[in-house]
């Protein structure tokens, strides 16, 4: 597939380092501008909404002197540009101020809620990939068959059924009726506080501590919400896999491989999927990123204290520090995933090296 190494490309190595450095600089610059844009947009939206952040901080029955004091504490008496400059400067240092709602430093709150989301999103994505990719491949290979139709219907259902309904039904069936799985929450109250929170991801913490009872309990708690979220990414990933695979299967190299007498299994799973994997990485990374923003409805139904609920709640309560902090984290997650998929691209596709 990759062209034979030519003299030209070997000579090109000399420029390579400079080109990589140039690319990295470009990348950093675009990351910087993206961040600044992000900060500017959230900041100015926060200022134009007709909500008084002082009231959000102290309730509506304070007297005038307390009101003025809090206003000053929040820096709201400064000129707008100065408030913005302060925000940007602090954000660069990971300092987002205190959340009005929880009264903790925003960064501490995020450290608390993000691991919960990370745990849920990661398990969900694993479910989505492990089931979604093969389903997509099979659907492409058996195009038009009953199997393809069944996978399509499954995908459509996954895409169109509201997640809270699915969540409630899941709880009703697997928790209330069948008693297979535990109810809402991340861990049983009996195991509360048994494992030292190192990363905040209970599955990892309990594995590190070697406390397999806690691990099993945490796993049984994450199964249902992660399956429900995973179903959504499964639906998306299988649809995309199917269409990428169809495109690959029509290529001439596939015919060549078949003519060469390679086993059909190898042709499909190695050659075709190997190539379809490249665009698929982006799809998976994006759907992972979306899950890492937090899924507020799933979090509410399952009492899962994650980022989605935190940001939504902050938004509804005009808690601008928390919204800004959360947005920056989500932005950083997306940029990080972008980088990651860039790197994976290069590993999978020699042409991109």
């Amino acid at each position: 597939m990759s062209p034979p190494p030519s003299n030209a490309s070997r000579r090109g190595r000399g420029f390579g380092a400079a080109r990589v450095a140039g690319r990295a600089a470009n990348l950093l610059l675009s990351i910087g501008f993206t961040f600044l844009g992000l900060l500017a947009v959230t900041f100015f939206i926060g200022r134009v909404v007709p909500v008084d952040p002082v009231l959000a901080a102290v309730g509506d029955r304070i007297n005038a002197s307390t009101y003025d004091r809090v206003r000053e504490e929040l820096g709201l008496n400064l000129p707008l540009w100065e408030q913005f400059a302060r925000y940007v400067w602090n954000a660069l240092q990971g300092e987002f101020g205190r959340s009005v709602l929880t009264s903790n430093p925003v960064i501490d709150d995020i450290r608390r809620v993000f691991p919960a989301t990370l745990e849920l999103a990661t398990v969900a994505t694993v479910i989505g990939v492990v089931l979604g990719v093969p389903a997509g491949v099979v659907a492409a290979v058996k195009r038009g068959s009953m199997v393809d139709q069944a996978i399509r219907v499954l995908g459509l259902v996954g895409y169109s059924v509201p997640v809270f309904w699915l969540g409630l039904m899941g709880l009703l069936v697997f928790y209330a009726k069948l008693d297979w799985l535990p109810g809402p929450g991340r861990i049983d109250l009996l195991y509360e506080g048994m494992v030292e929170p190192l990363t905040g991801v209970i599955l990892i913490d309990s594995a590190i501590a070697g406390d397999w009872d806690v691990f099993r309990d945490a796993l049984s708690h994450v199964v249902l919400p992660a399956s429900i979220l995973g179903y959504f990414s499964l639906a998306y990933i299988s649809r995309m896999t199917r269409s990428f695979m169809l495109a690959q299967l029509q290529q001439e190299y596939i015919t060549t491989a078949r003519v060469k007498g390679l086993a059909e299994r190898t042709v499909i799973w190695r050659h075709a999927l190997g190539n379809a994997m490249v665009p698929l990485i982006t799809v998976i990374a994006l759907s992972y990123g979306t899950l890492l923003e937090g899924s507020v409805l799933t979090e509410i139904v399952f009492s899962w204290p994650g980022l989605g609920f935190y940001i939504t709640n902050s938004l509804l309560n005009a808690d601008m520090n928390a919204v800004l902090g959360g947005t920056v984290v989500v932005g950083a997650v997306f940029i990080g995933l972008n980088l990651l998929s860039d790197i994976l691209y290069r590993l999978l596709d020699p042409r991109a090296r």
């Binding site: 909404v49 007709p50 909500v51 008084d52 009231l55 959000a56 102290v58 309730g59 509506d60 029955r61 304070i62 007297n63 005038a64 307390t66 004091r69 709602l101 929880t102 009264s103 903790n104 709150d109 608390r112 809620v113 509201p162 809270f164 309904w165 409630l168 039904m169 709880l171 009703l172 928790y175 209330a176 009726k177 008693d179 109810g183 809402p184 929450g185 991340r186 109250l189 009996l190 509360e192 506080g193 507020v296 409805l297 509410i300 139904v301 399952f302 009492s303 204290p305 609920f309 935190y310 939504t312 709640n313 509804l316 309560n317 005009a318």
Partner: protein
């Protein structure tokens, strides 16, 4: 804050599918688990608490100087103080501190701790400080006015004579929580009086101490074995954050929760048929009302104000929308408060309203707007009112907004009509009288922006009455003033008071002794048994 993102459809679907109750698991016998929406918890520091969850917890983590007695509301109960006297001029309260109370740290509780706790609250000057500042206390004078004269005697001086019932009611709230001075000061940082540490810790002498605390997830309280009234029966109380009603119900049915606190009407209907569950309703102080801005050319006419009171389908709204979460109530003092009367002269009467509007020369109809928080139940009620008022020729435009948006506008007096709720700050009628009936300065830049001011209602005579009631040392006379004001208000006030809140508690049958009073800070766990 309450996000209710799950549409009713889901709840109905669930109700239909769930014909039968699931098999029961159970929580441990010495532990009680509550499923509750606890995301509003900001701080456990009594000097900072200003919301329901924190207020409730404070009553179980700390002793107060005196306690509100749920079973006998007319009398205060001793707490850290076993008795008290009031000087003849009504300005000096002397409390005798009970012997043998120990803090959870093992330190003895003294009058010095009590005095310091009150001084601290005033000096920190956070949300609840105003409750004590009402007595003329300030940063500069609090050390002289509130003091320990010896280890057993606490003196509390006010700037003028107030009704003793008022002073004691205020001190029965969480503001008088007695903190362990030594422990708190050992955790002080940069002169914050230990505020940062106390956000997530407690240094009290109450029946429970803080075990695990993770905001938005779980709060576990562990029994304090040396509590002066005896160790509580439940070794643990776990408050589990469950934001939605349907999962709360499932957990209660399964026995994974013993008490559920935020059930929606649909879920309550189902639970009412479950023999394992008891449902209790406790009247609460919060009042749901309309505020009619007197700057508005129509609303300032007394006939219009009265007509609107006849244009509310109190019963219909209760049955169709509120469904047991609130009960009709038309006076400004909620049931359960000193002096409250429960007169309900108004019912839906479109003809009468039309006649009143005609008398005001407005039979041709007119337009009004209503700033409405875009959640249940305000939005639903506003829509019913819109339909009802149309019958009398009033064209109502609903302006939906987030709570903070509507409140910002209300406080700027830019509304026509505001629909919203008001909760008293402490268990004394003055909290509401001050809110609804006190407006010493009706100018736009007044520093007191309470409800009468927000609705631009200039009422020197009621402002005087409110102040007189506040100073009245005879409880019977004090009561009479409030009763008179409420009767007048029914007729003339620019408030259409409609409903009073009810706290609905669903408990497993074996749970007994969970005491819930008429205000959020008088909820006690120590007598719970299973």
């Amino acid at each position: 804050m309450h996000i209710r993102l799950l549409p009713a459809a889901a709840a109905i679907g669930l109700a239909v599918t769930l014909g039968m109750a699931p098999a029961g698991a159970a929580t441990p016998a010495n532990m009680v688990v509550m499923a509750w929406q606890i995301d509003e918890l900001i701080s456990l520091d009594p000097a900072e608490i200003y919301e329901f969850v924190g207020g409730e917890l404070s009553g179980n983590l700390y002793d107060r100087i005196v306690f509100y007695d749920i079973k006998n509301p007319d009398q205060m109960q001793g707490g850290a103080a076993e008795s008290w006297t009031v000087s003849s001029d009504g300005k000096t309260f002397t409390f005798k501190i009970r012997d043998g109370i120990k803090f959870q740290s093992g330190n003895p509780l003294t009058a010095e701790d009590a005095a310091w706790s009150l001084q601290r609250l005033v000096k920190l000057d956070k949300g609840p400080a105003f409750i004590l500042k009402e007595f003329g206390l300030s940063k500069d004078n609090v050390d002289q006015k509130v003091r320990a004269t010896d280890a057993k005697t606490l003196v509390f001086e006010t700037d003028k004579a107030y009704a003793p019932t008022f002073v004691l009611n205020c001190l029965g709230s969480w503001v008088s929580s007695v903190l362990d001075k030594k422990t708190v000061m050992a955790n002080e940082k940069n002169g914050d009086f230990g505020n940062d540490w106390l956000k997530t810790h407690a240094a009290g002498s109450g029946p429970y101490k803080v075990g695990t605390l993770r905001q938005n997830e779980v709060i576990m309280l562990d029994a304090f074995e040396d509590y002066w009234r005896g160790a509580p029966k439940m070794k643990r109380v776990a408050l589990r954050h469950v934001p939605e009603s349907a999962p709360q119900r499932l957990m209660l049915e399964k026995g994974d929760a013993d008490i559920a606190r935020n059930l929606a009407p649909d879920d309550l209907d189902v639970l009412a048929k479950n023999p394992d569950i008891t449902i209790r309703k406790v009247p609460q102080g919060m009042i749901l009302y309309l505020g009619l801005n007197q700057k508005n050319q129509y609303l300032s006419k007394p006939e219009v104000t009265e007509a609107l009171k006849w244009l509310v389908d109190y019963e219909g709204i209760e049955k169709a929308i509120l469904r047991g979460t609130r009960v009709p109530h038309q006076t400004f003092l909620p049931e359960g408060y000193l002096g409250a009367i429960n007169d309900k002269p108004y019912t839906l009467n479109v003809e009468k309203a039309k006649a009143l509007l005609a008398k005001a020369g407005l039979s041709g109809g007119f337009k009004l707007t209503m700033d409405t928080r875009n959640t249940y139940p305000t939005m639903d009620i506003a829509q019913v009112l819109q339909a009802t008022w149309a019958k009398a020729g009033i064209q109502l435009e609903i302006i939906p907004g987030d709570n903070k948006q509507t409140l910002t506008k209300y406080r700027a007096r830019q509304h026509d009509i505001y629909i919203g709720q008001w909760a008293p700050d402490y268990l004394d009628p003055h909290s509401n009288a001050q809110g609804f009936a006190w407006n010493p300065d009706n100018s736009d830049n007044s520093s007191n922006k309470l409800l009468a001011w927000r609705n631009a209602w200039d009422i020197p005579q009621y402002t005087k009455m409110t102040e007189a009631a506040l100073a009245e040392s005879d409880p019977a006379k004090r009561k009479a003033i409030y009763e008179q004001m409420q009767r007048d208000f029914l007729k003339v006030s620019p408030y259409v008071i409609m409903f009073q809140n009810v706290q609905v508690l669903a408990e497993r049958k074996n749970v007994k002794g969970f005491e819930h009073g008429p205000n959020f800070d008088v909820v006690y766990y120590r007598n719970i048994t299973k």
